[in-house]
């Protein structure tokens, strides 16, 4: 393999690993963020409804 071929082979391997790591971290961490976003929006919506009454 030439230098470029070796570089791109390693880059491809690295990209798969990084992609997978980001996926796992985001899916686990994102679940908590979804909960807190929904709570905050629900609170705003209820406040908005109370204000309009």
């Amino acid at each position: 393999m030439t230098g470029w071929q070796t570089l791109w082979t390693w880059m491809l391997g690295l990209s798969v690993v990084l992609f997978f790591v980001v996926e796992v971290v985001v899916v686990i961490g994102g679940a908590g963020d979804v909960k807190s976003m929904l709570a905050s929006l629900r609170e705003n919506a209820e406040k908005g409804a109370a204000d309009s009454d």
């Binding site: 030439t2 071929q5 798969v16 997978f20 996926e23 994102g30 963020d33 929006l41 705003n44 409804a49």
Partner: protein, 504 residues
């Protein structure tokens, strides 16, 4: 038809899930901020999920795979440059930190604060025009993917485009950013897993050694060395390198940075999600390279033709439809739909919000929240109809990625370059900014509209090549900004940037 019952079941289950999420979030929309920026409540991981899903669209898979098919491994340089760009923005907070601290809704709003309303409107028009043209190919590429993966007859392409558009419009109009963010989270999971699985199947089917041999045979050393590549070359690499400071700042991605809880979260978002941008480019490119290997060695399946020549954009979906096992094929189509919907809905919402916030609102500042939401919804439908027509009528002169790059330059070299000047250079004034916006907003149109026409004599065609125009646009925009600002300091003294509370 390539699909069997398990493939259809997977796709239908996915569609029911995402549509249900969109409908369920409708009652959470209480004001314009909650419709457009999810109430600025995005924390880091959710912001990463939504940015990752938005920036990995079906169109991304299609144009990167076509680039891999056309340039071989040399195309990987594009992914590497994107990674460097994201790391730079994440580390320095270049532009994103300044905008987030000012609490603006859109980038053009900054022009209203730093310069005046006319500049805001012109910046918004350029952003809107570049964005809509860029998005113009989303539907046709998405429909092509589905057409070849499912194995439908080519004459169904227009119907598929209409069907996809209706699907996306339905839940973007109903739920706004909240439904976009929630569906992005689900789509992120499906999409990222499928991309990794598909890469495994794509490589193992043809074998990595065979891929290397085919690229060497078809493209020679240029298939690996981007500077020697006939398709790319050193001018192309320079063009991409100039754009590094503006990586990931296309308005839909930027809207994620503006939706985060603070500017430090925006920086972390770019640093971390940027890591996935290497794979976002390299893996679909690898599918395209594997498709090249497949079609070069197996003549039993023909590559579809477009106007009498091989349709390189069709290579990847045709290849995957032949090699993926039943079930995985359905998962891939569900992921592709996820990719298309998560990108398309965000882009529709983004361009519509620019139209409302930065073009209509400066002229009618007394609009109420409910009126703004209604107008944004109408704009979403209008943009969708434009994309449908543009995708059907326009064919780019180069690969699809190259078309995306030149429309990206139209925005980066005008709006982003002048935003950077406005944030970091005290002498930037309205005249310099307007001159720079007009120069950089119009030069790329020469490639878009003259690149494939016979108007120019053959010996002058190089002047409208995308890489030549791309570099010229950046350089001339920069020079015009500096010179015009310095020459008009007395007649048009620069205005200071207001603090966040004053801006609000």
């Amino acid at each position: 038809m390539n699909f069997i019952w398990i493939d259809w079941l997977t796709v239908i289950a996915f569609l029911v899930l995402t549509t249900g999420v969109a409908l369920a979030t409708r009652r959470l929309i209480s004001d314009y901020d909650s419709f457009l920026l999810a109430g600025r409540t995005l924390k880091l991981y959710l912001a990463m999920a939504t940015m990752g899903a938005t920036e990995l669209g079906l169109v991304t898979l299609m144009y990167f795979s076509q680039q891999g098919y056309s340039s071989g491994f040399s195309a990987f340089s594009i992914g590497l440059i994107a990674l460097v760009g994201f790391m730079f923005v994440g580390r320095t907070g270049f532009i994103i930190k300044g905008l987030r601290d000012l609490e603006v809704h859109t980038i053009a709003e900054f022009f209203g604060l730093r310069y005046n309303r006319s500049t805001q409107v012109i910046a918004a028009i350029i952003t809107f025009a570049a964005g809509l043209m860029n998005m113009g190919l989303f539907l046709v590429l998405g429909a092509k993917f589905l057409l070849y993966m499912v194995g439908l007859p080519p004459e169904t392409l227009p119907y598929l485009m209409v069907g996809l558009l209706l699907l996306v419009l339905a839940y973007t109009v109903v739920g706004g950013m909240v439904s976009v963010v929630l569906t992005d989270y689900v789509q992120f999971l499906i999409l990222f897993s499928s991309v990794v699985f598909t890469t495994y199947f794509a490589i193992t089917h043809v074998g990595y050694d065979s891929v290397i041999e085919t690229v060497q045979r078809e493209y020679g050393d240029g298939g690996f060395d981007p500077f020697l590549s006939e398709d790319l070359g050193w001018l192309f690499i320079i063009w991409l390198l100039i754009g590094i400071p503006f990586s990931g700042m296309w308005p839909p991605a930027l809207s994620r940075a503006l939706s985060t809880v603070d500017s430090e979260t925006s920086k972390k978002l770019y640093s971390f999600v940027g890591l996935s941008f290497l794979g976002r480019a390299l893996m679909p490119m690898m599918w395209g390279i594997c498709a090249l290997t497949y079609f070069a060695s197996d003549n039993s399946v023909a590559l579809p033709l477009l106007d009498g020549v091989a349709d390189t954009a069709a290579a990847m979906p045709v290849y995957l439809s032949q090699i993926l096992p039943a079930g995985v094929r359905g998962l891939m189509v569900a992921a592709a739909l996820a990719a298309m919907m998560s990108t398309f809905d965000s882009y529709l919402l983004c361009w519509s919000s620019i139209l409302v916030n930065d073009i209509v609102l400066p002229l009618r500042p007394d609009m109420k929240d409910q009126e703004k939401i209604k107008l944004t919804r109408i704009a979403v439908v209008g943009c969708g109809l434009f994309v449908l027509s543009w995708g059907y009528l326009y064919s780019p002169p180069e690969t699809f990625f190259r078309f995306m790059a030149i429309t990206g330059t139209m925005y980066s070299a005008s709006v982003l370059l002048t935003t950077a000047a406005g944030l970091y250079w005290k002498k930037a004034n309205t005249v310099g900014t307007l001159a720079s916006l007009i120069v950089a907003g119009t030069l790329p149109l020469t490639t878009i509209f003259l690149g494939d026409s016979d108007i120019l004599p053959l010996e002058y065609r190089w002047m409208v090549e995308d890489k030549v125009v791309g570099i010229t646009t950046f350089v001339s925009s920069f020079v015009v900004m500096i010179v015009a600002s310095l020459l008009t300091q007395k007649s048009h003294p620069p205005k200071a940037i207001p603090r966040a509370k004053e801006a609000a």
